[in-house]
Amino acid sequence: MELKEKFVNAFQKFEGTLNGDIQSPAHAVRKKAIQEFQGLGIPTTKHENWKYTNVNQLTQSDFSVLGSGQNIASIEKVIPELKANRLVFINGVLSEKNSVIIDQNITIKNLKEALKEDNVLIKKHFAQYANYQKEAFTALNTAYTLEGAFIHIPKGVQVENPILIHYKVVSDSNTVVHPRNLIVAEENAQATILELFNSENSQSTFINTVSEIVVDKHANIDTYKIQLDNQNIFNIGSIYVHQEGKSTYSNTVVTLDGKLVRNNLNVFLNGEYCETYMNGLYTPSRAKQLFDNHTFVDHAKPNCYSNEYYKGVIDGKGTGVFNGKILVRQDAQKTNAFQSNKNIVLSDDASINTKPELEIYADDVKCSHGATTGQIDHDALFYLRSRGMTEKGAKRMLTRAFANDIIEKVKIAELKTFLEEQLDEKLAV
């Protein structure tokens, strides 16, 4: 059976596991979403947004699409020195035992629980931003929505410690999980949210995430997405951000490992004087390893600022894809939008497809974009070697230097150190 049919057919069985929950408004959304998914189907390279990213390997994998994950009691804590609120999902299911909430004045819980309640925030925000009508994987996630993080930061609250959402699949069978997050930051709220993936399945795994993030007026939200999955993991995820006036949102995505990784980041600027920062680093290096970042910033209102900086280190037989779209609507005068994508390609078999897309309908704007792809600077390499560094060591140092400006953007010291170590380890091979 095709993967699409499998998902469609299993939906009824999934409903059966939800017990009384099927009366909830959220479930009506799930049902709509599975219909949409059925209509959309899994995208192929004929689809403009999937032109360079072939998901054949995914569709050909033999997944058991419903909760085949084993029960694992405990897993290793990531970045243990980081004091954080922790939500840990093992094989897609929240592990209370491994989770801990240390900040008091906010709500952090399993989305599953929030969906069961008569929750005004769910009613107001759930599935309002995620485009399940157009995007197949988002539709699929929405249909199978259950576990995930529900985070509510009330008006004026500045969350002291970061909120770390750790996803881990450890299993020896083909597994699919659909983590779904809803993050609502009210006016003047401030928080840092970190998603970390380090699955270690020996079999094919498909992690299909969707996050919706609402950043109300004057709120300031920093998110990080750190991807360290092993080489069997397909990680496809979409983040939908909705910003109101004078809010600030920043995202930094670092993809160091995985099999096929696709990150969609969609930011809708619905108020004036918003600031948006998008940073990314990706280092595909293995055969059939493809890391793809698609970003979309929708400047709907005047006087907003967006700045995007993605860097790729492409080695071995790895493939990188970057597609950054900036839309400046007619109303969005005085928009400042900048985008830069820089890549170094370290081997003959490595490849990168990079495509900036600017669509501008306002006349008084400042927009710029640039994409570069190059090799390691020959003169710099010679300089280091002439001081006695080996060719390998010098290349590693220059590659590390290239990646450094993204790592420098990380504001959590413990995370920065962790990433530096991970990156050094990655480049050492």
């Binding site: 280091l384 070697r385 002439s386 001081r387 006695g388």
Partner: protein, 252 residues
């Protein structure tokens, strides 16, 4: 120590070195002068192992070993150091970190234990004093945003730390103010000893007042056309290079 015989090198189809002969003995300082574009930096680069130049003839031995077959890092481990005419800026590479790695790789290649962080810091402190460099520089990215003179001084710092047996200085004096020039000359003079030699490429006789050479050569049109004592530098300062061209053409 260094023996160059009939060295020819080209880039793309252009022949730049057309048969250079030069012998530097332990403890000697040789100055190389010559007009712009005559091949001085090319010679220095070829000695350091830059592969954009293709060696088409001749031999180079260093302490009896064939040098042309060696990788740049192997040459560095053997004791060659080139202070670049135009040091490259390398953003993101921390100066101290880089120098520590380079030094320890050299030590390892020579069968020495790596320096500990503390010992390295001590060494750096001492060498920074020698070249009168502020310690802020070593925590910056390598040469990034350094002024011309600061870059040159950073080259001298690296030389002092790596302690080569042959230092090649390619116009280290260009762009230096008079105080900096004295500091650089002083650093070189302090490093001078019976086993360490220098090849100093310069356009100005002024430097040679401070670093007094044993031999002065004129490289012109890819060849050494004249060699002499330190008085030759004075003569060149006065007369330029044209007279040499005429006389060398006459002798051909």
């Amino acid at each position: 120590m260094l023996k160059i015989e009939g060295l020819k090198a080209r880039i793309e189809e252009k022949e730049i070195l057309k048969g250079v002969n030069l012998e530097v003995k332990p403890g000697e300082v040789h100055a190389i002068m010559g007009p712009n574009g005559s091949g001085k930096s090319t010679l220095a680069s070829v000695l350091a192992g830059k592969d954009t130049f293709e060696v088409t003839g001749g031999t180079v031995t260093f302490n009896g070993k064939d040098m042309l077959g060696m990788e740049p890092e192997e040459r560095a481990h053997e004791g060659i150091f080139l202070a670049f005419q135009y040091p490259v800026e390398i953003p993101g590479v921390n100066t101290a970190n880089f120098l520590k790695t380079a030094l320890n790789e050299k030590r390892e290649a020579n069968g020495q234990d790596p320096l500990s962080a503390a010992d390295f810091l001590k060494l750096m402190k001492e060498k920074m004093e020698l070249v009168e460099m502020d310690k802020a520089f070593i925590n910056r990215a390598l040469n990034e945003g350094f002024s011309g003179g600061e870059k040159k001084r950073n080259e001298m710092l690296q030389m002092a730390v790596l302690e080569p047996t042959l230092g090649i200085l390619d116009e280290t004096d260009s762009g230096l103010d008079i105080d900096a020039l004295k500091i650089v000359a002083n650093a070189v003079n302090k490093m001078r000893n019976a086993n360490r030699s220098f090849v100093v490429i310069t356009h100005y006789q002024r430097l040679l007042d401070y670093i007094v050479p044993d031999v002065v050569h004129v490289l012109q049109g890819g060849k050494i056309v004249k060699s002499g004592g330190k008085e030759l530098a004075l003569e060149l300062e006065e007369k330029g290079y044209d007279w040499l061209k005429k006389s060398s053409e006459l002798t051909v």
